[in-house]
């Protein structure tokens, strides 16, 4: 290759002259390595942003108690009757809770400055500073009595305004950070111990924290077993009945009929796959709804109309598997059909001459050739059925009564959308993490299974 490049350089002067300036400024574009890295960059960026980072973050979020209540970005410190009760019950600090909870009035410079800003008579402010600066009162009445006794006696309305400015109670106060809360608490009780401060911060924090509770909860919840069984049931049945079983029936039968009707049947069975999920499921609802086709049809035979899709758990499963299976069958159909097409015609001719029945052809010629395609379809569709969500969400939404709730839908209901409105991001991430781990492990196994190194062709232009 190098030799031919040299010939090109020596042989064509005008080409070289044109190429030189380009080479000076974009030299990196002329090497395989440089161009390769440039062309790969956008893809790598997308992979890092939307695959690698989310995988890591799913794991990170799984160890938090994030929810709608805690918010996603940090939280604040909120003192409320509830948090004071936590202080009493969980930490046994009844006295601290009582001290922080009762109203407290402290005459300090901060409050005096606030009064000046409000435009209170300077005489009153001066009187307060001279006689009461630094004093603490634990009841409003006591403090207001002192204010009324000042030399410049304020009106009742002003007394209330003044006392409010000196209220340093923590009850129902909200602080943006830990420092502000500790400072405010120390203003009331300067002798706070470290343990007490820590307990106070813990009890009042409204944001999310690190925890391993999600996994403990997942392991101990009775719903876990149920959803897990549902998922296995759904994947196994859909896969065997439709994605491989019925797909094979379609591929083999269309192989044995004339090309024209075969093409029509392939198109019909392709419709579910190309149809957007929302409209495809709507058509099933039309079939199964209480005012739908099945009800109206059976009405003629005296069967009372009802919702056939959500009528019972069995019905719901039948429809969930049919809806997903009809979509899944088409992929297997196309793959198996092209595999059957690739079987040498001579094999069929020989079998035909021997007088083999169609069933024997299928059994001894077609099926052995479908071994790898079946394995391929099984592998890929296991993963996609395991994480399939669109069709179940739109048709039964896990109902009736959670009987068709599968794992991926459970994640959705926990972390992304539920009736209660409290979305548990952390718990949902822990559930999703289970699927992510299964997904990573299975796709790595598939990589070994379908030997990929055969697909790499050594570049024939080296530089």
């Amino acid at each position: 290759m190098n030799a031919s490049r040299d010939i090109a350089r020596d042989g064509s002067a005008p080409l070289k002259a044109r190429a030189v300036p380009a080479r000076r400024s974009f030299g990196w574009l002329n090497s395989s390595k440089g161009l390769g890295i440039v062309l790969l960059t956008p893809a790598l960026m997308l992979v890092v942003l939307f695959f690698l980072a989310p995988v890591v973050l799913t794991a990170v979020f799984a160890f938090t108690n994030m929810s709608t209540a805690t918010g996603i970005t940090g939280g604040a410190y909120q003192v409320s009757p509830g948090t004071l009760r936590v202080l009493t019950d969980r930490y046994g600090m009844r006295e601290l809770a009582a001290r922080l909870g009762q109203p407290t009035y402290i005459v300090d410079e901060e409050g005096l400055a606030a009064l000046e800003e409000m435009g209170i008579d300077p005489g009153i402010i001066a009187g307060l500073r001279d006689e009461h600066l630094g004093e603490t009162y634990s009841s409003r009445r006591e403090f207001e009595r002192e204010i009324r006794d000042l030399p410049d006696r304020p009106s009742t309305r002003t007394v209330k305004q003044i006392s409010a400015e000196f209220s340093r109670s923590l009850a129902n106060a909200r602080f943006g950070n830990a420092g502000a809360l500790v400072a405010a608490a120390e203003a009331i009780d300067p002798d706070l111990g470290d343990a007490e401060k820590e307990a106070l911060l813990d009890a009042t924090y409204t944001g999310w924290t690190w925890t391993t509770d999600n996994f403990r909860r997942l392991a101990s919840s009775p719903q876990t077993t149920r959803v897990l069984l549902n998922t296995v049931f759904f994947v196994a049945l859909t896969l065997t009945l439709f994605n491989t079983g019925f797909a094979m029936v379609l591929a083999i039968t269309t192989h044995y009929i004339p090309e024209r009707p075969a093409g029509i049947f392939r198109i019909i069975w392709f419709l579910p796959r190309i149809s957007p999920a929302v409209i495809y499921v709507l058509l099933w609802k039309w079939l199964a709804w209480d005012t739908g086709f099945i009800s109206a049809f059976l009405d003629n035979f005296g069967v009372r109309p009802r919702n056939w899709m959500l009528g019972s758990a069995t019905n719901a499963w039948v429809f969930v598997i049919l809806i997903n299976g009809f979509v899944g069958a088409s992929m297997g159909m196309v793959i198996f059909a092209s595999a059957i097409k690739a079987i040498p015609q001579s094999l069929f001719h020989a079998a035909s001459v021997d007088g083999a029945y169609r069933w024997q052809q299928v059994r001894h010629i077609i099926l052995p050739h479908l071994k790898w395609p079946i394995l391929f379809v099984t592998c890929y569709q296991t993963l996609s059925l395991l994480t399939a969500i669109d069709h179940i969400l739109l048709s039964t939404d896990g109902g009736p009564g959670g009987s068709t709730e599968v794992w991926s839908l459970w994640v959705y209901h926990t972390a992304l959308n539920n009736y209660a409105g409290n979305l548990q991001y952390g718990y949902g991430a822990a559930m999703a993490l289970v699927l992510v781990v299964i997904g990573v492990v299975l796709s790595l196994i598939y990589l070994r299974l379908f030997n990929y190194s055969a697909l790499i062709v050594k570049p024939r232009i080296e530089h």
Binding site: T58, I257, A277, W284, S352, V440
Partner: protein, 274 residues
């Protein structure tokens, strides 16, 4: 090869099995243009009343045209992104001598098999933090990234079929590797680019769960989310309206599929999951 075997029993069996599908899709058309007496499915009058949603916007909902525009922008943007990124990366994996090329190729295969939908909780939180939640741009980026491994895989396959002689000739004439790719190789894979673009457009057009989670409300609503909200609204149950909006929504898909089915069946069979 099957001369002595009759095919009509098979055709009959397949017809019976296909009947529910045919029925559902046939009534998708029939119900939008006709009315039938209650309890019956045989239409007795032709009507266009179910199509009034095209010019009359119900209160509290976006105009159907606005939503359609969103869907168009969503599908074309993701398709463009997927095509551009994949035709660049696919060429590298097919032809160029980059370090760790085998690793990248293995990576594409793993990403292709990996169900990206499991990452939706993390992606949802990230979009909220960076402020792209409930925007079209956020969903477009996510959808393009999720479709990209398949795109790279397909484009690599298309590049693999281009003869090396074309590139060698270009380099002998003094063209840079970039020029060779841009001017000589890319035109060779035009059919592939078209097929991938069409496929990515249809995937984007039909996508439901990503926009539903990442941009459910506001002005970023796309047709799938719009229709799902319409159906979920218990106060206005009107199957004929749902079907009319549905037909409006699925029409471009059916038309594109009708004209380019051979392209699409190959891609669906060779690449996608589901």
């Amino acid at each position: 090869m099957t001369g002595h075997l009759k095919s009509w029993p098979i055709v009959l069996a397949l017809s019976i099995l296909s009947a529910p599908l045919v029925l559902m899709y046939a009534y998708l058309f029939i119900d939008t243009f006709t009315n039938a007496p209650p309890g019956s499915f045989i239409p007795n009058e032709f009507t266009l009343e179910h199509w009034t949603f095209l010019w009359h916007t119900p209160p509290g909902r976006l105009s159907i045209w606005r939503v359609t525009l969103n869907s168009l922008m969503f599908a074309t943007s993701t398709a463009t992104l997927v095509v551009v990124v994949s035709s660049m990366a696919g060429y590298v994996l097919s032809r160029l001598n980059v370090p760790a090329r085998g690793f990248f190729l293995a990576g594409v295969m793993v990403l292709h098999a990996f169900p990206a939908i499991t990452l939706i909780v993390a992606i949802f939180l990230v979009l909220q933090i960076v402020g792209l939640y409930n925007t079209l741009i956020g969903v477009i980026l996510v959808k393009a990234a999720i479709d990209m491994p398949l795109g790279i895989w397909l484009m690599k396959g298309f590049y693999d079929t281009v003869p090396w002689e074309i590139e060698m000739a270009g380099i002998q004439d003094g063209a840079s590797r970039f020029t060779v790719w841009r001017k000589l190789v890319l035109p060779q894979v035009k059919p592939g680019i078209f097929a991938l673009g069409l496929f990515a457009f249809l995937l984007g057009w039909g996508e439901f769960i990503l926009p539903q989670v990442l941009a459910p409300s506001g002005n970023a609503q796309v047709l799938s989310v719009y229709l799902a909200a319409l159906i979920a609204d218990d106060n206005n149950f009107d199957m004929a309206l749902f079907k009319s909006v549905g037909l409006f929504y699925i029409a471009p898909v059916l038309i594109l599929f009708f004209f380019f089915q051979s392209y699409l069946m190959n891609i669906y069979g060779g690449g996608t999951k589901g």
